[in-house]
Amino acid sequence: MIYSLLVLSSPASGHGARTAQAFARAVLQRGHSIHRVFFLDEGTSTGSASAVFPQDETDRLQPWVDLAENHGVELVLCISSALKRGMLDEAEAQRYESPAATIHPAFIVSGLGQMIDASANSDRLITFGG
């Protein structure tokens, strides 16, 4: 089956982001494919290349990077949610004359059309919030 995931919560707070990550790995382990993971609202914080988490806890960014780089999973941050959280890629940082690009290159920034496309082209759409 083709899965897409919608992630609404930040890696810094709540259960949703962590559960989404573990679910994504389990989906692939069961032989399914993931069309896209779309991060919306607080979920866009996931794409931060700058966030620093406690060193004695599990890395919260690397598992997503691994999914993108080693399993070809597309990770998309909703642009309007991302911008207001200081999440900018190179192009946006230049356009808004912002001091730095802050998004890890494993993530793409795009619009809600990508979310709609994910819904239209997936057998399963699983949402993670809270």
């Binding site: 919306l40 909703c78 949610s81 809600l112 709609i116 819904s119 239209a120 082209n121 759409l125 919030g129």
Partner: protein, 123 residues
């Protein structure tokens, strides 16, 4: 985007309009679905029904009016939205002139609505 497999979507909206950023995100999501000609239904539940109130003077908060955006839904082909009847009752809004036509639903009808859509998104 391929038209081969059109999937219907139900967006369940549960947040008050101006506190959670998710409220605006969910409205944008509904509009995007409509704009891309996907079949989409909206169900407002709990605090979500408050997004439908008319006369939101959000400029006093320096924000765009969510009520105004929802009022434009018919332009995108969404002629009416569903609301949880119990939520209307809780807020004393049962006869209110909302920004878009609403169809109040009791529990059983809401359960049936969930079962009719291909995908469910809760924001």
């Amino acid at each position: 985007m391929s038209n081969a497999d059109k999937k219907s979507m139900l967006v369940l909206i549960r947040r008050a309009p101006y506190s959670s950023s998710l409220a605006r995100a969910s409205v944008d999501l509904a509009l995007a679905a409509a704009a891309f000609e996907q079949q989409v239904d909206l169900l407002f539940q709990g605090d979500g029904v408050l997004q439908l109130l008319p006369n939101q003077q959000s400029e006093l908060l320096g924000l765009k009016s969510i009520g105004k955006v929802l009022g434009s839904l018919p332009l995108y082909g969404i002629e009416q939205v569903y609301v949880d009847a119990r939520s209307l009752s809780r807020y004393g809004l049962a006869g209110e002139n909302f920004v878009v036509p609403v169809i109040p639903l009791e529990d059983e009808a809401m359960s049936e609505l969930l079962a009719r859509s291909d995908h469910l998104v809760s924001c």
